[in-house]
Symmetry: C2
Subunit: 330 residues, 2 copies
């Protein structure tokens, strides 16, 4: 049952009254809000929802590890399932990062165009339909002035107040620590994960192919939001993005390395609960429905600490940058 209910009241937003002189506290910054967030506002990320990608050491012998958090249900779960299958089969071991385009993506996997020569995929891979790029919201949605302010089926939902160029008649916000967009449409409300810096997606060929999940990319530039609903977002890099963003840009077609020697060998890709060493990688994110997160979004849109002269008054969903941190090992 889909039900859209417009309600008439929204908790008034209390702006701090201006103080004067030496009593005036420092205005909060995104960093100060994150530092002050109580432990109860943080949620653990299950190591089973991580991909740990170990690249060959760099020219200086320094280790390179990239940690990807996979999208939780209800988003992109068929591709995420394929990715789990690939990781369990150690399929990426021995493949490479083979394509890097400035202000666009770094891409990895087999990278073989010729299907006859391509590395065989493991058993159990699913062919996924493009309908899964978005998810129906089949439950109660609460509106205020035409904007979604609460959605009872999308967990930890937190709407952003600013408008968004890519959902003219919709809404952006966060659910369970992930940036999403949604549209209220006559044929049914839909919600989908958006492409931001660091997002990981499923490379594919022309429509209606939706890709398997074997060839993945990470965004290393301005959010390519036109890809939303056109490619499956399956996760995001939460540590080690610099090992992808600093790689030399490819000079071949579409930014593929024309010189195979430039390919960066992938030593291994493992699910976080199968890395074979303890402790497993432990991270946590600032819960989207916490007071700290709401304040964090508000300050991102209204910086008034001493560096800033003019608060923007708005922020786009990709500039909110959901706080994620490593949990110190005990």
């Amino acid at each position: 049952m889909r039900k859209t209910i417009a309600i008439a009241a929204l908790a008034a937003f209390a702006l701090a009254a201006p103080l004067s002189g030496q009593d005036m506290p420092e205005p909060p910054t995104p960093a100060s809000i994150v530092a002050a967030a109580p432990a109860s506002d943080w949620r653990a990320i299950d190591p089973a929802d991580l991909l740990v990608m170990t690249l060959a050491a760099d020219a200086g012998g320094n280790p390179r590890q990239v940690v990807v958090q996979l999208l939780p249900a209800p988003f992109s779960q068929s591709w995420v399932g394929n990715i789990r299958t690939l990781a369990k089969a150690h399929w990426w071991d021995g493949t490479s990062v083979y394509r890097v385009v400035d202000n666009w993506v770094a891409q990895w996997g087999d990278g073989e165009d010729d299907e006859a020569k391509a590395k065989p995929l493991p058993e159990g891979m699913r062919v996924v339909a493009e309908s899964e790029y978005t998810v129906p919201m089949s439950c109660e949605v609460y509106l205020f002035e035409g904007k979604v302010i609460e959605d009872r089926c999308i967990p930890e939902f937190n709407a952003i107040e600013a408008v968004d160029a890519y959902v003219m008649s919709g809404q952006t916000g966060f659910t369970a620590g992930w940036p999403v967009a949604m549209k209220l449409e006559p044929e049914g409300n839909r919600v989908w994960p958006v492409h931001c810096y660091g997002s990981v997606g499923v490379a594919r060929n022309l429509s209606p192919d939706t890709g398997t999940g074997a060839e993945l990319y990470a965004v290393i530039g301005h959010a390519p939001r036109a890809l939303d609903r056109n490619i499956a977002v399956v996760g995001r890099v939460i540590e080690g993005i610099e090992h992808l963003s600093t790689l030399p840009r490819g000079k071949g077609d579409a930014g593929v390395y024309d010189d195979p020697a430039l390919r960066v060998p992938i030593v291994s890709v493992r699910l976080g609960n199968e890395v074979g060493q303890l402790p497993q990688p432990q991270y946590e994110y600032l819960a989207s429905d916490s007071a700290s997160f709401a304040e964090y979004v508000r300050v991102r849109a209204n910086r008034n600490d001493p560096f800033y002269k003019v608060p923007a008054g708005g922020v786009d969903v990709c500039n909110v940058q959901v706080p994620i941190r490593r949990v110190p090992s005990e």
Copy 2:
């Protein structure tokens, strides 16, 4: 004289009627529109408006050159004047790229925090007021449905139809090939250049310091639009951004290289008409008021070539990526 006039008609936007079978032409892509643009839609960039920065060769002995186009009048001209003074004095020669932060900026100049040790600036540098972050629009502005569609004092103005999170009661668009934002405010209409990937800005200390132009940065991540009206945008990298975006990220405070050996030496910075060798660097941009540019923006917002399944229906000003190309030497 400021005059705001609402007019009632806007050229109806003709979407191509669907064709069928083999008569259907390929839908245009941003690349195909740029390739088909007639010579008359391109405008030359004066070499005097370029900064050519030569970095030390990389570890493999490959040359590294970064070309920055400076903002034209009426924007940021006092800082741009300082930058011309610095380039003519060869002030940057022997300085370095000293700060690189992932998804943020690469910054260059003297990089000395201690004022007593800082490299002296040349004669003729101006102290610039923060009021120059924006420019008044003191002439006729035409509106349609509350949006600016024509501005008679901002040359080659081309408004973007999509909404923008950072100018809730304003407008984004292009003028003379540059992305800008504007607001119609009771105290007067203002317009300003925006921060996109590749934008070059003037690093500064805390307000009300606005920086001199000696310490510059280029954006190497998602557009940091909250900096708009808070830092002077003075140009953009039009060639060689990869020589900045691929640099190792700094591990010191604020991403400054803690190891001075990581600093990338700047061999020289020259204005494009003073590079000391012929031919001078020649570039051109697709004019904001050309039919080709209007079509380019439309397609950026509504990709329907075979790769795309769902056109976004909008585009943010930083994802339009104004076409700029090198003019082949004769």
